[in-house]
Amino acid sequence: MKRLVVLLFVAALLITTAFAKTTITVWTFFSGGEGFIVTELIKKFNAENPDIEVVEQIVEWGELYNKLTTAVVAGDPPDVSVMHLALIPDFASRGALTAIDNYVSKDILPDYVPEIISKAHYAGKLYAIPIDTHPLVLYFNKGLLKKAGLVDQNGEALVPKTWDELINYAKTVQAKLGLEVGISVESGPMTGERLFIAYYTQLGGEFYDAKSNTIKLDLEKAKKTYEFIKGLYDSGVMKSMDYNTAESLFQNDQSAFHFNGVWAMAVYPTLNINFGVTSVPAIAGSKPYTWGDSHTWVVPKRPKDDPNKIKAAVKFIEWFARNSAEWAKAGHLPVLKSVLNSNAFLQLPMRKDYAQVANFVVPAPSMKGWVEIRQKMWELNQSVILGQMTPEQAAKELQQAIKNVLAD
């Protein structure tokens, strides 16, 4: 009898501890080096938090948003999912995300880069915990610049600070060394959306009109931006190419400059390239504003909220954000100022050269349907480069596309 009581007691204890553990499923689309870091961080979190078990489920990169949409409709989404900042309005506006204002720690919000955390809100509510920003930056090949004689008094490669300097240096290297291009950059998203937003913002252009509280394009500045981009292609310093070609040219000493996201920092330092990284150039008198999206964690909406699960989920995603110096090894910039200024982050290779970029990041405007606008931007830009559309026509068409999407 005694034995039975003890046995029952032990069994009861086991059952309660098993029940006390909250399981959190997390959907990610990270693979390669990024995937490895996420998995390691989750392992670490689980070890530090015995009451929560985070289970990672890797979904194919191109499929995650489709699957998430259908999982929300089916009423069985994961407890946490990764989501790009630019997509928050699309999902939040349709009731697919849980507002986490009441769950998040009060001290974390003021620690964020303001521009980023503001975009994690939709209609006044917080829907996401951003873990990084991955802006467009400028890579330069030090070896080629030196070979072409573009060095300062100390013999170091010159780093362009303005667009004029960049174009000058690029043309010089291209001509002197007989390179295919001066600047290698993908001509769809990278130029049409990212470079466009950088230059347009530096001109003083905005996507948001505070007066009417609407999303709006500054037609004149958009036109100027297209003229600028067209000029780069017409002069031959840039040529139409896809992403892999742009990277290969830079990696094989065939272009002196290269525009790409900071994610390339996960790979470039491991290759045999003598390169540097810096913020995109600035128009004289402007700050070096640049495009940047962010990875965030969101809590998808279930038919019935389970406060315990949401609490555990938010605990995990906050922990992840606070430990994002580790995540930054993949090249991304932290967006919590405390992490951005931490030694753990700044001691990573070359991070000091582009850490300041986090302060000049321009995320996509907070609007439903941005995905459609940016697709349009990629195509309009190519039409302009190919001479099938004038910069003015392209700017007008972009303005119209924004109007149509907003009206839909």
Binding site: D90, E180, S187, S240, T245
Partner: protein, 295 residues
């Protein structure tokens, strides 16, 4: 042994059909019926569908991007189907001949068909690369101008078509080989006795007797080509400037990226009707050719 019972027999037949029938109804017919219903709705997947009558169709026919995607799709069909027919026919003749390389020819042309779409497309993207690709190395050595295949608005679609032909021709070759093997050799022997040369044998025996195979190849290739998506998605992403965007790609974008499922369903419905027309012609031609054979 019991007496043959018609009722029992029918019940048994239904029982055998049941496992497949249930799956067919649940996973094919019900979604199909639903998708047809959705053409009359505005539906963002996450919200409640909203009835809008024929608005999706009026929108579609004033949507420049849809119309251009439709044209790109037809253009792709034109670029792929005639060459694939002629080439697969010629290759089949070669593979069916008594040539010593027969086995090699057969496997060499069938091999690409066994590869997955991403492997094929990524390999060809490398081949097409104007700076590092094998094709540009070759054209350079001939002193020709380097073509920037996948970002040139004129060449992008032909480049995708060439890749597709290379990838899928093996299937058509197999169909033609099967057709060729069904032609009795006595026909050729008789023709030879009458003094027909190989050209005449080809024109008057081989080509006409392969009529059913021609129809099968044309129609299956048209229907497959109308559904082109993966190749452009991987190789050009619909670019440059949307010049290679196809209907299925646009359906995908509208449905899953822009949350316009009702609109996407309507476009899919139009594509379905177009394919239905070709399938109907195939059926008619197949039936008439099998009647001829009976005579």
């Amino acid at each position: 042994m019991g007496v043959y019972n018609k009722k029992k027999h029918a019940a048994l037949a239904y029982l055998f059909f049941l496992p497949f029938g249930v799956l067919l109804i649940v996973f094919k017919l019900v979604p199909f019926a639903n998708s047809i219903r959705m053409v009359f709705y505005k539906w963002d997947i996450l919200g409640t569908p909203q009835f809008i009558g024929f608005a999706n169709f009026t929108r579609m026919f004033s949507d420049k991007v849809f119309l251009s995607s439709l044209w790109h799709t037809f253009y792709f069909v034109i670029l792929v189907v005639p060459p694939i027919m002629v080439l697969s026919f010629l290759i089949a003749i070669l593979a069916n001949s008594k040539a010593y390389a027969k086995g090699f020819v057969r496997s060499a042309f069938y091999l690409p068909y066994t590869l997955t779409i991403s492997v094929v497309c990524l390999t060809w993207s490398l081949l097409y690369n104007p700076y590092f690709g094998l094709i540009s190395k070759f054209t350079k050595s001939l002193g020709l101008k380097t073509i920037n295949w996948l970002v040139d608005p004129f060449w992008a679609m032909p480049a995708v078509a060439i890749t597709t032909i290379w990838w899928t021709i093996g299937f058509c070759v197999v169909l033609y080989i099967a057709g060729l093997q069904q032609i009795p050799s006595s026909y050729y022997e008789a023709a030879e006795l009458d003094g027909a040369n190989s050209f005449k044998k080809m024109i008057f025996i081989t080509i006409p007797l392969l009529k059913r195979v021609h129809v099968l190849v044309i129609v299956t290739q048209i229907i497959a080509s109308l559904q082109i998506f993966g190749q452009v998605y991987i190789m050009t992403a619909g670019g440059p400037a949307g010049k290679t965007r196809t209907v299925i790609q646009y359906i995908y974008e509208q449905g899953f990226r822009y949350f316009r499922m009702g609109y996407a369903q309507s476009m899919a419905f139009v594509l379905f009707l177009i394919m239905l027309i070709f399938a109907y012609f195939q059926l008619r031609l197949m039936i008439s050719s099998s009647k001829e054979e009976l005579i």
